[in-house]
């Protein structure tokens, strides 16, 4: 889960997984900001974050990924992925 200067830089990375090729593993920065900026994220400093907000994360993530069209198991993970 890294940031690269561009897709070409990522492809030149010696540890680049060819399975993430054809754009599968890439995400535009603006989309990443949306993915990691869901409502629950805005409450990480709240006193009840762990009990009240963290449990909402999985559903929020799925909703963003669906909106971005990233519905493959590569992005969606297993059902319990937080």
């Amino acid at each position: 889960m890294n940031l690269f200067r561009s897709e070409e830089h990522a492809r030149r990375w010696p540890q680049f997984n060819a399975g993430s090729e054809t754009g599968l593993g890439f995400i535009r920065l603006e989309d990443l900001v949306a993915f990691f900026g869901t409502e629950s994220r805005r409450h990480m400093l709240d006193a009840d974050y762990l009990s009240a907000w963290y449990p909402k994360r999985a559903a929020e993530r799925r909703a963003v990924l669906e909106r971005l069209g990233k519905t493959t198991p590569f992005w969606m993970g297993t059902p319990g992925t937080p």
């Binding site: 889960m1 890294n2 940031l3 690269f4 200067r5 561009s6 897709e7 830089h9 990522a10 030149r12 990375w13 540890q15 680049f16 997984n17 399975g19 993430s20 593993g25 890439f26 995400i27 535009r28 920065l29 603006e30 989309d31 990443l32 900001v33 993915f35 990691f36 900026g37 994220r41 805005r42 990480m44 400093l45 709240d46 006193a47 009840d48 974050y49 762990l50 009990s51 963290y54 198991p73 590569f74 992005w75 969606m76 993970g77 297993t78 992925t81 937080p82």
Partner: protein, 149 residues
Amino acid sequence: MDQMFSRIMRALVETGRAPHYAELARALGLAVPQSRQLLLDVMQAYPIGWLHPDTDYIASFPPLNNLPTQYRVSVGGEQKWFAQCGFEATSVTWLFPGATVRVQAPCLDCGEPVVIEMRDGRLVTVDPPSVVGHLNWGFGPSRGKPPFL
């Protein structure tokens, strides 16, 4: 668990370091062994973070990391934080409301800097403009793979 979670997160924000469970014990009015068990419970409830293997030391407590990473985070010109990974780096902004959060990391390909600045969830600076996120193994299949990839 909420109280301990909040203490850890706020300590990370304020100091750049995660406290040890023995330090948290007094703050939470717990005996030290109780504090250790509560830390283990918190980390189980927040599995996107982790302890350093075979220790009770907090290594990662996303979006921040207690163990330095290449994702250096600066706020107000002061660099004392690290993001867990490039993705979590885009979430650090929510820990510093009203402030400009700068994330700088060397590109893993060429070593040249990747810089983003965010304020209240919005991108302010992206350098170079072609910066992209990359998930190497997938969220499901990544289990068992180094999580930072």
